[in-house]
């Protein structure tokens, strides 16, 4: 790890100011990606600005229509929340399966989606549930938020404050973990929402994406059988020593069917 200046501001304004005044500043939320990167000397920010000291970024509120989760809320808190489990059980289940207990006790929702690792879990829920991302500057629709591998619509200095998940009629999330890292190799978040059926696929491609062919099929018939025969094109799938593009494309179908089963309970 290289030396850097550490800051722990207590307000969003202070956090934004610290970043803009730093020569190469980085926001730190749960640190589950940034800290290993720093430890391996793969990044050398001048300043690390810890967002976990800002009170309004943390917490869970559930209304009749939405679950709203603060950006620095730990995965473990979401997984353990009785209200989340009741309102969107698939979301609580997703949070309970991220990494391991150590990761879940440090990692945060905001950090996960701002990083937009293709193998992260939360982007599938944000996209699959048609959530709204709130920042210190604006709100961003899920469909506009994830723009590419490790890329989002966030501008320089923009901080995710909370994510508002509309409560769906039903939803299910199933993932196939990478055998070694246990990150998502292929995941499917399927939801029947007010906006219609949404199928978000993570892990398989460079960025979480909606599987519109599956959405159309499920809109006609919300059952695993509706997805039989839908082939996912391996072109554009990730390809590594753990899974070929063809295997990932195949698993998209398997995970989506199982996610529908999960949604149906």
């Amino acid at each position: 790890m290289y030396a850097f200046n550490y800051h722990r501001p207590s307000s969003l304004d202070d956090a934004a100011k610290l970043l803009s005044s730093a020569s190469d500043g980085k926001f730190l939320a749960g640190g589950q990606t940034l800290l290993p990167t720093l430890k391996q000397r793969l990044a050398s920010p001048s300043d690390v600005i810890d967002l976990t000291g800002i009170p309004q970024l943390s917490g869970i509120t559930v209304s009749g229509s939405a679950v709203t989760i603060g950006a620095t809320t730990r995965h473990a808190a979401v997984a353990a929340s009785a209200e989340v489990k009741k309102a969107i059980p698939a979301l609580a289940k997703l949070a309970s399966g991220i990494g391991d207990p150590q990761v879940r006790n440090m990692g945060t929702l905001g950090g996960s989606i701002a990083n937009n690792d293709p193998a992260a879990d939360y982007p599938a829920a944000v996209l699959g549930l048609c959530a709204t991302v709130h920042t210190n500057k604006r709100t961003i629709a899920a469909d506009d938020f994830f723009t590419g591998m490790f890329e989002t619509a966030l501008e320089e200095g923009e901080i995710v404050t909370k994510v508002e998940f509309p409560i769906p009629k039903r939803a299910g999330y199933v993932k196939f973990p990478n055998p070694a890292s246990r990150y998502v190799m292929v995941g499917a978040f399927v939801a029947e929402t007010a906006d219609g059926i949404r199928v978000a696929i993570n892990g398989a491609g460079p960025c979480v994406f909606r599987h519109t062919e599956m959405e159309a099929a499920l809109a006609k018939n919300f059952s695993p059988d509706a997805l039989k025969g839908i082939r996912t094109d391996p072109a554009g799938m990730n390809n590594d020593i753990h899974a070929s593009a063809e295997y990932r494309a195949h698993l998209v179908g398997v995970m989506a069917r199982r996610a529908v089963e999960a949604a149906l309970g």
Binding site: F176, P179, A180, S181, Y247, H250
Partner: protein, 794 residues
């Protein structure tokens, strides 16, 4: 025997004495040790698999804060430091010694694998040392590497060493070629397999670490290091690398957090620490990070094999022939040459009466991390070949896999049994182990379970492995005749204190095996001393007189036997003291479990009183030396041959290719068992590693660039708890007839048996032999796709 000692002796599942300090974070590992004035080493490592070093510029780096010195291979060469050695010379088919190219502790002209040492920075902190490493400028001429043995032997392949034509370390053979060819000519059936034994990274929990320290006042060099065999390391450093006198070098291997073989060897980094410490007259510490461990800890396995089994019409094995290419990596590691030869081909008889066996092994250099012994070392590779062949032959000939083994087992009446590949098996009852394993696995009802699984859309398979291993390494005269550079005895010393407590000094080294408990149990049993009054001392050449270390499941069979011999000497002397105290003739003294008595009388003297008298000899035999201590060396007359049967049962999800282990039975014969709990733990750990090899683990190099693609746990898949089943463990016991404890060794058995059992189960489920380890979900799915099972499952 005293009451306290009654439930602590041989055969008792005593809790491990050492666990309190380990579980409470009070273990004392090399990296926990800090010496006054200590400096830190960090290595610049080659980013290329193969390159010529054109120039190294350390100007900017040497100006970095805290830098004390920067050394390159030329600095080491200028001090005439010897290269690292291979301690076992294998002679090829023509009787020529193997090719052991020079292995400099810092590369001089070429780097030969990613991670090869290019320079070392010595600085006041680790961070400063690493900062300076990044500032060293190296101009490389990048060369095309070769990482796969099949490519390395082709004409025109990159030459890893200029003095090793064709990258061929040796072309070796063993067994009777003519007899084997004759057997194949008469065969009713021949089973053939192409097998890859995947390369593994050992990944002990504690990474390697070393401190070199030099005391100019006494001209003494001290090395703290993560070693499985401190005395052997001292010998190598003194006699071969530095030319130092052994009495001026002390090697301390304190608590060591796992080795699995990888900490047997002499490595460049510890050697550099010693060299630089002597040069700078400052203690120098280096601790590997996990990436360095992946890049530089000696890997295991990496064989490519063509194997054939000849059978008669009834499934009797007539002959076995094996053609193996073994990847040595970029350099010949300390015992690398022996692993695919004497620890491999000599085990190819397995548990069977196969009369004719012939093996050819080519050892090949490649631009990869050196390969050496890893838990099992050659014996897992041999077992994998034999047991995959046997299972495949049974399937091809439509004979039950258990039955074909029964037809070919060496019968219990045939021991000692001379195999056609040099070994004389000591004892065993292979059919008994198989019967017990089949009973525990409910083998007879497997077809019902397979049918039931099929109804759920799952592919179910069962696989057997009847393994054998040669342990308790080994008779010095035998290993010497095979090319070993060392003897393989073990030493022990037992020293009573006046108050009746005991030190036991052993040359074996415990890095997870529980010697502090098991060895204490032996002494407790023999001498009647409560366990808590016994301290087992190991891992320090200044305390333990001599030793050969721990590997090859030898510590108990060889080191434990030395302890028994030393205890016998204590008892013999104790009888003289006791006879004097009881005013009797020594010939009338009997000894049993800590108490000396006189036949036909009620006279008794306990061991504690004898020990006290030995040190406070006011009333003492006039011709006897005071004191109560004894040393013993034990050189075994044969290897031991643990054996057993494992049965694995799996279910495969044909939608995803995921294999779930639904049942695992292990029935082992380790001879006499000292501590059944520790033995069971060793079996569990060994199976976990074997399952890791078969299902999860595999070192992957990029074929073009030679980059290590599995350089972290993100990509190198270690077994986790949820990958492993609960095990059904059974034991049978045929005592080893040639050592005083009747023990055979248990440390490697699981890792030897498990891969073949699991792959036999997976190939049974898939209906094809054509899948290599690790059988990842990707590979299993690909096999299913090629067989068009997927359509059937939908």
């Amino acid at each position: 025997m005293t009451n306290q000692a009654a439930n602590q002796g041989i055969g008792q599942a005593v809790r491990r004495k050492e666990d309190f300090r380990f579980l409470t974070g009070q273990g004392h590992y090399t990296d926990d040790i800090n010496r006054p004035g200590q400096l830190y080493a960090a290595f610049l490592r080659s980013p290329h698999a193969f390159a010529k070093i054109k120039s190294i510029d350390t100007t900017a780096a040497s100006k970095k804060p805290g830098v004390v010195a920067i050394y390159t291979g030329k600095d080491v060469a200028a001090d005439k430091v010897g290269g690292l050695i291979c301690g076992w010379t294998v002679k090829d088919k023509k009787g020529e010694p193997h090719k052991a190219p020079r292995h400099d502790i810092i590369a001089v002209e070429y780097v030969r694998h990613v991670g090869d040492q290019v320079a070392v920075v010595i600085a006041d902190t680790v961070a400063h040392a690493k900062d300076a490493v990044e500032a060293i400028q190296v101009d490389y001429e990048v060369l095309k590497p070769v990482v796969d043995v099949r490519e390395a032997v082709k004409p025109g392949a990159p030459q890893v060493h200029p003095d090793v034509p064709g990258n061929l370390c040796y072309d070796w053979e063993f067994g009777d070629k003519a007899a084997t060819e004759k057997a194949f000519a008469s065969a009713a059936h021949i089973t053939k397999l192409e097998l890859v034994n995947n390369r593994l990274s050992p990944n002990p929990m504690e990474p390697r670490s070393a401190i070199g320290e030099y005391d100019p006042g006494t001209d003494t060099t001290t090395v703290y290091t993560t070693s499985q065999n401190p005395h052997v390391l001292r010998l190598i450093l003194c006699a071969f690398v530095f030319g130092l006198p052994e009495h001026k070098v002390r090697v301390i291997a304190p608590d060591v957090g796992g080795g699995f073989g990888s900490k047997i060897f002499n490595y460049p980094e510890e050697t550099v620490c010693v060299w630089a410490a002597r040069k700078l007259k400052k203690p120098i510490k280096w601790t590997s990070d996990r990436t360095e461990a992946f890049l530089t800890d000696a890997h295991g396995r990496d064989h490519v094999t063509h194997a054939e089994l000849a059978l008669d019409k009834d499934g009797k094995f007539l002959g076995l022939r094996v053609d193996t290419m073994a990847n040595m990596g970029a350099y010949l590691s300390t015992f690398a040459s022996a692993v695919p030869t004497y620890l491999y081909a000599l085990l190819l008889a397995g548990q069977y009466t196969t009369p004719a066996i012939y093996a050819e092994v080519k050892a090949i250099f490649t631009n990869t991390t050196p390969v050496d012994a890893y838990r099992g070392a050659g014996r897992p590779e041999a077992t994998y070949v034999v047991e995959r062949l046997v299972e495949a032959a049974a399937r091809e000939m439509n004979i039950d896999p258990a039955e074909i083994r029964r037809r070919n087992f060496i019968p219990p009446t045939a021991f000692p049994y001379q195999t056609p590949v040099a070994c004389v098996y000591d004892s065993g009852n292979y059919a008994k182990a198989l019967d017990e394993a089949c009973r525990l696995a409910d083998y007879a009802n497997f077809p019902k379970r397979k049918a039931e699984a099929a109804r759920k859309g799952k592919l179910r398979g069962i696989g057997l492995c009847a393994y054998i291993e040669a342990c308790g390494l080994a008779p010095s005269s035998v290993v010497g005749s095979l090319g070993a550079g060392v003897g393989l005895w073990e030493s022990a010393q037992i020293r009573f204190n006046a108050t009746g407590t005991v030190f036991v000094y052993t040359g074996a080294h415990s890095h997870g095996q529980g010697h502090e408990t098991t060895f204490a149990q032996i002494v407790s049993d023999k001498l009647g001393v409560p366990l808590e009054n016994i301290e087992v001392v190991h891992g320090d050449t200044a305390q333990v007189p001599m030793g050969m270390g721990t590997y090859g499941s030898r510590s108990l069979a060889v080191g434990g036997s030395a302890i028994v011999r030393a205890a016998d000497k204590i008892i013999e002397k104790g009888k003289k003291i006791a006879a004097h105290l009881m005013e009797a003739s020594v010939d009338d003294v009997t000894y049993d479990k800590g108490v000396f008595s006189i036949k036909g009388t009620d006279k008794q003297v306990p061991m504690a009183q004898v020990a006290f008298t030995a040190y406070v000899p006011h009333n003492y035999p006039p011709d006897l030396e005071p004191g109560l201590e004894a040393s013993a060396f034990y050189d075994p007359s044969n290897f031991t041959f643990p054996a057993g049967v494992h049965i694995a049962e799996v279910e495969i999800d044909s939608d995803t290719g995921v294999t779930t282990i639904v049942n695992w039975v292990a029935v082992d014969d380790f001879g006499k068992v000292i501590n059944p709990m520790i033995v069971e733990g060793q079996v569990h750990g060994g199976i976990a590693q074997g399952i890791g090899q078969a299902l999860l683990e595999g070192v992957v190099y990029d074929q073009e660039s030679g980059q290590l693609l599995t350089a972290s746990f993100l990509d190198y898949c270690m077994p986790r708890a949820d990958n492993l089943p609960s095990y059904k463990i059974g034991m049978i016991e045929t005592p080893c007839p040639h050592n005083p404890l009747g023990v055979k060794g248990c440390g490697e058995a699981g890792a030897i048996a498990a891969p073949a059992a699991l792959m036999n189960a997976i190939t049974d489920a898939l209906g094809t032999e054509k899948i290599d380890m690790p059988a990842t979900p990707l590979k299993v799915w690909q096999v299913i796709q090629s067989h068009n099972f997927a359509a059937a499952a939908e």
